[in-house]
Amino acid sequence: MTTSGLGLPGIVVFVALFIVFAFLGFFGRRFRKGDETILSEWSLAGRKLGVFLTWFLIGADLYTAYTFVAVPSGLFAKGALFFFAVPYVAITFAIAMVTMPKLWIVSRKKGYITASDFIQDTFSSKTLGLLIALTGIVAELPYVALQIIGMKAVLTVMFPLGSGVSTIVTLALVLSFVILVIFTFMSGLRGVTLTAVFKDIIIFTSVIVIIIAVPLAYGGFQHAFSVKAAYQTLNQSTYGLGYTTLWIGSAMALYLYPHAVNGSLSSKNEKNLRMSTALLPIYGIGLALLALFGVLVYAVAPAMSYLSNFSAASRGIYVVPALILYTMPSWFAGFALLGIFIGGLVPAAIMSMASANLFTRNVVKVFKSNISSKGETLIAKWATVVFVFIALAFTFVVPETYSIQLQLLGGVIILQILPSLFLGLYFPKLNKHSLIAGWAVGLALGIALEEVANKFGVLTSSFYTFGPGLVYIGLLAVAVNIAIAVVGSLIANAAGVKNSKVAAPADPPTQN
């Protein structure tokens, strides 16, 4: 079939709002102005964000375009299993409440900017800090790439399908990223924070309007679920254990990602951080409603017909953009699509910044320690630019389905830093060699199980068939990792092996 695309009113709204977005990004540097040549000013907005802004920033940082596109896409293709995202985004914040305020306190006291700063200092090991930093950077890259894939899907549905589309999409994408990089370079996290609030308002308005309007116009969820009756519940005997282990593993993984740590450390104090983290499950309601779009679309015939233009394997990412396009008036569709589009840009900026911080502080500085504070910030700023464009290039070189697989693998990989970061916060006496051994075995096991589970072919599943059912591989690998770290440390401590000759590791902090 021929498609009409978004139409002029929608495109005008989209472009106008994008200009506002860019303006906020540039204007952000004047917002609670700080010395942007200091790294903690540039990348943590001077650690000054209150409950409200922290909530918006971390929300915008964690609930990404990829989440808004991939979760509904999963629900559309596989049904209830993909609703694991809901318990995941509830419980991850309980874990964050136990870990992030504590990390905030020690980071403020000792001037840490990254999780690796903390790990390197606590365990007196630059090697461990370096390994953890590289793990974070590697796991983050496909995550940034997936933001871009989500944004591409939005741009694609805006134009009539045909020969010129991919050129327009590429140009628009590159232009948006150039603007993003310029304001991130100049305004740092201050600019990103203002755009995050803007993004959140648009997304929430859109989701609420659509979730009310579409069921009213298309015979409600009854109609959608009558087309896909099997999607009403989870097939427990097959997926029960898989569902549970997947949300638990994902909840454990989220706050290990560099962008989550970066967002948390930008809070003004640990009390604000604790409160805004506690309230973040509310943001998940938007995700839950969007996830249901993956089922709702079955009731919308024109959207289904549009989706049939794509192969079964690749149509998932167009579900939400197509649903918006075919149910809303042009101008409102432009508004909503822009929300998802900048919903990819904002996290992409924070993710790249967080990777750049790791690269600067825990990779470059390990090999060249005499860098001035100004020089450090400059390296981090340029590294951010490089990371953004590597991710962008990545999406043009690597096929989309392959990026999604790398993201699956990224979750398994990032989980392997859990003992050093989360356990390290409470047990600084863990032995560094045991932590490194656990990390190495966890990584090797996780990757090997992924390969075996997918019969050494294309990675489509992160489940391993284990006894009574399917188990999330990340959770298996990190369990082995934790066991090695703990048992190894017990043996080392019993043998009197210390992490450093100088007994100066981090004391439990008592004051700000």
Partner: protein, 78 residues
């Protein structure tokens, strides 16, 4: 001892109550057989979906109360 109005015993109590508040949503989601069903439906959406979404709200309330307790009665060192 920045917050000297709060006794040690009370502080321990605050942390125990907060821990319980953080764990309750975890247990609720863990009990998959209790919510993996179709009825009662809400506006055509099966119980499986709306129940878990409702728990997002309950979780935020419980976590918020826990955060409030720790922030106001937990003392400075947390």
């Amino acid at each position: 001892m920045a917050d000297n109005k709060v006794s040690d015993g009370k502080r321990v109590g605050v942390y125990v109550v907060s821990a319980i508040l953080l764990v309750i949503p975890f247990i609720a989601y863990l009990l998959l057989p209790t919510y993996d069903r179709v009825s009662p439906e809400l506006a055509g959406v099966s119980f499986f979906y709306w129940y878990q979404t409702l728990w997002l709200v309950i979780s935020a309330v419980m976590f918020g109360v826990a955060a409030y307790l720790i922030n106001h009665l937990g003392g400075e060192a947390s």
